[in-house]
């Protein structure tokens, strides 16, 4: 691959004493659909705000296609903010014109094309009268009008009904197919993303826990079920474990070979992520 789409080096953002992101270093490949996953308050929104230039890092740097992001919107990035900011007393048509006027590179036809893919966004409706789903879709259309190379979506599927969800995913996936756009989308619900993402960035407590191709990440992990008194036989790193009286179920990274007496299974994405999150919560509980 060429230069990474997004590259963070020692990236930190502190709000007072709270370390929303702490010393994160990672690369994200170009042209991928990346799931940014983590529990609420893990730093997902902070990461997206930093990548868009909406906020400045406390330390470290972040760059998009090799150009650093410095306190203002990167020209190759488009960002769907979580609260879908749109001027409430504008009509949809007016808000499109307004955003067009605020951009140097802008494709009106692209916005129209995206809106045309959607059922029932009335261009003459006031923004305040739109449903949550329609607001999200208009906001995504506006983001795509910037013709971005990197599309940052903060909780794009929250408060969407199933039809709007499907339409929205279709728009985003079509964008990837047409323009090879890199998509980084966050959700605290993995099920929203597991079916469409091919790359995983797991952020827990301000730190990156996993970053890789979904298939590779899954292939690295095993769910091992075996006798509880024989756990020492397991090689690799135990991510999380649940133990019954005699039996232990372990999520293990790099468990090769599988010890005798243990049954190995490939985890699915959901159970993998849940394993990491549970481990994080247990560590946090142990600290208290």
């Amino acid at each position: 691959m060429s230069t990474p789409a997004l590259c963070a080096a020692g990236l930190s953002k502190h709000f007072g004493r709270v370390r929303a992101l702490d010393d994160c270093t990672f690369d994200l490949p170009e042209g991928r659909v990346i799931a940014l996953v983590g529990p609420n308050g893990a730093g997902k929104s902070t990461l997206l705000s930093l990548a868009s230039g909406l906020i400045r890092p406390t330390a470290g740097s972040i760059s998009v296609h090799g150009t650093p992001v410095r306190g203002r919107m990167h020209p190759d990035v488009a960002y769907l903010a979580q609260n879908r900011p749109l001027y409430p007393d504008f009509t949809v048509r007016e808000v499109i014109q307004a955003v067009g006027a605020m951009n140097e590179r802008w494709s009106q036809p692209r916005v129209e094309e995206v809106l045309d893919m959607l059922a029932g966004v009335d261009r003459d409706a006031k923004v305040r009268a739109l449903s949550a789903g329609a607001r999200t879709q208009v906001a995504i259309a506006l983001a795509l009008g910037r013709l971005p190379k990197v599309l940052l979506l903060d909780e794009p599927l929250s408060d969407l009904d199933p039809l709007a969800r499907d339409e929205t995913l279709r728009i985003v996936m079509t964008e990837v197919a047409d323009r090879g756009t890199t998509v980084l989308m966050s959700s605290h619900l993995l099920s929203d993303l597991s079916e469409v993402c091919d790359h995983l960035l797991l952020v827990v407590e301000g730190q990156v826990r996993l970053n890789g191709d979904v298939e590779d990440v899954l292939a690295e992990h095993r769910v091992l079920v075996g006798p509880r008194d024989d756990e020492s036989a397991v090689s690799g790193v135990v991510v999380s474990a649940s133990r019954a009286e005699r039996q232990a179920t372990l999520l293990v990274r790099g468990a090769d070979p599988v010890p005798a007496g243990w049954v190995a299974d490939r985890p699915d994405l959901e159970s993998l992520v849940v394993g990491y999150l549970r481990a994080a919560r247990e560590r946090a509980a142990a600290r208290r």
Partner: protein, 325 residues
């Protein structure tokens, strides 16, 4: 960008235009009505010379005019006096605070337009029409009050609070200050209501404080009267300090007791007050005054203070907006 912020502020701008149209129409009508009163009562001459019994402009003639019109003109002046505060409250305070409250600033921040350009466009679109309206209404009120000449508020001189605050650069300076203050507090607090409250309080307090310091804004001139019993203060000027001088030309510190001694005492009236004063060491009368002709300079100094504060507030707003996420 200008078109976008114009559209955003359309409602406020239309409201302001409506205020202007209604205000201007009322002012024109009320002035016309006053002019016809002046003509109908043949007061044209009195407008030029003021209250003077020898010119046929005795107290009685003028009094009946002033009973009807003086307070009305003062209300007109107070309206112009209040306009800058209103601009600060309804133009400046919500300018950034409302967007920050609703989160819509993020829409602009996530496009390619720079924050500085976004900010300056918003300021220009909100402030420029407000200034035009304030100045236009100021000129209308000045025109109206001017029609009453020396039998209206202008007879009280240029430092009369209602006249001073509604003439010269004052309304522009107050407006720019109140607007910038509202804007800054709004950008820093992210709360429209907080910004409005602070703007109202600070503007009123500062206006009061600075108007009480008005006479110290330029250096005063000393007027001396050789007859200690006669003061020579010109009407319309502003007295900073007054008193008596001794034979060496020094200020007499406690002149009051001497003055008391020369007052009328029971059945023995003091006939020659001047001699009595001199006998008590009060050789000359003096006053440090800001003459009426210096009003233009006082306006300039006061405006410079307000505009300086406004510039600081605009820069502070820039800082506050840049650090918003």
């Amino acid at each position: 960008m200008i078109r976008v912020v114009w559209r955003q502020q359309r409602a406020q701008l239309i409201t302001m235009l409506a205020v202007f149209v209604v205000g201007a129409a009322a002012l024109l009508a009320v002035r016309a009505s006053m002019v016809s009163y002046l003509d109908g009562h043949a007061l044209g001459n009195c407008v030029a010379i003021g209250i003077r019994a020898d010119g046929g402009c005795g107290n009685d003639v003028v009094q009946s005019f002033q009973d009807i019109w003086f307070d009305r003109m003062k209300v007109g002046q107070l309206f112009v006096l209040a306009l800058p505060v209103l601009v600060g409250l309804f133009g400046g305070a919500p300018l950034f605070a409302r967007e920050l409250e609703q989160g819509t600033h993020v829409l602009a921040f996530t496009q390619s337009v720079s924050r500085i350009r976004w900010m300056s466009s918003k300021i220009a679109v909100a402030a420029a029409p407000a200034l035009v309206v304030v100045v236009a209404l100021q000129l209308l009120v000045e025109w109206w009050v001017g029609a009453a000449g020396k039998i209206g508020p202008l007879a009280s001189g240029p430092y009369f609070y209602a006249t001073f605050g509604t003439s010269g650069l004052a309304p522009v300076a107050y407006t720019l200050f109140a607007f910038s203050l509202g804007m800054f507090v709004g950008a820093a607090s992210r709360r429209t209501l907080v910004a409005m409250t602070v703007t109202l309080a600070v503007t009123v307090v500062l206006r009061y404080a600075l108007s009480s310091l008005q006479k110290f804004l330029v250096s005063a001139q000393r007027i001396v009267s050789d007859d200690p019993s006669v003061s020579k203060v010109e009407p319309g000027s502003l007295t900073v300090f007054g008193g008596y001088l001794d034979a060496n030309g020094n200020v007499v510190p406690n002149a009051n007791s001497a003055v008391m001694n020369c007052g009328s005492k029971g059945d023995a009236p003091v006939t020659d007050t001047a001699t009595c004063y001199r006998d008590h060491g009060l050789v000359k009368w003096f006053a440090d005054v800001v003459p009426a002709e210096a009003a233009g300079t006082v306006h300039l100094v006061e405006a410079a203070i307000y505009l300086g504060l406004a510039v600081v507030l605009v820069l502070a707003t820039g800082w506050a907006v840049r650090r918003q996420a």
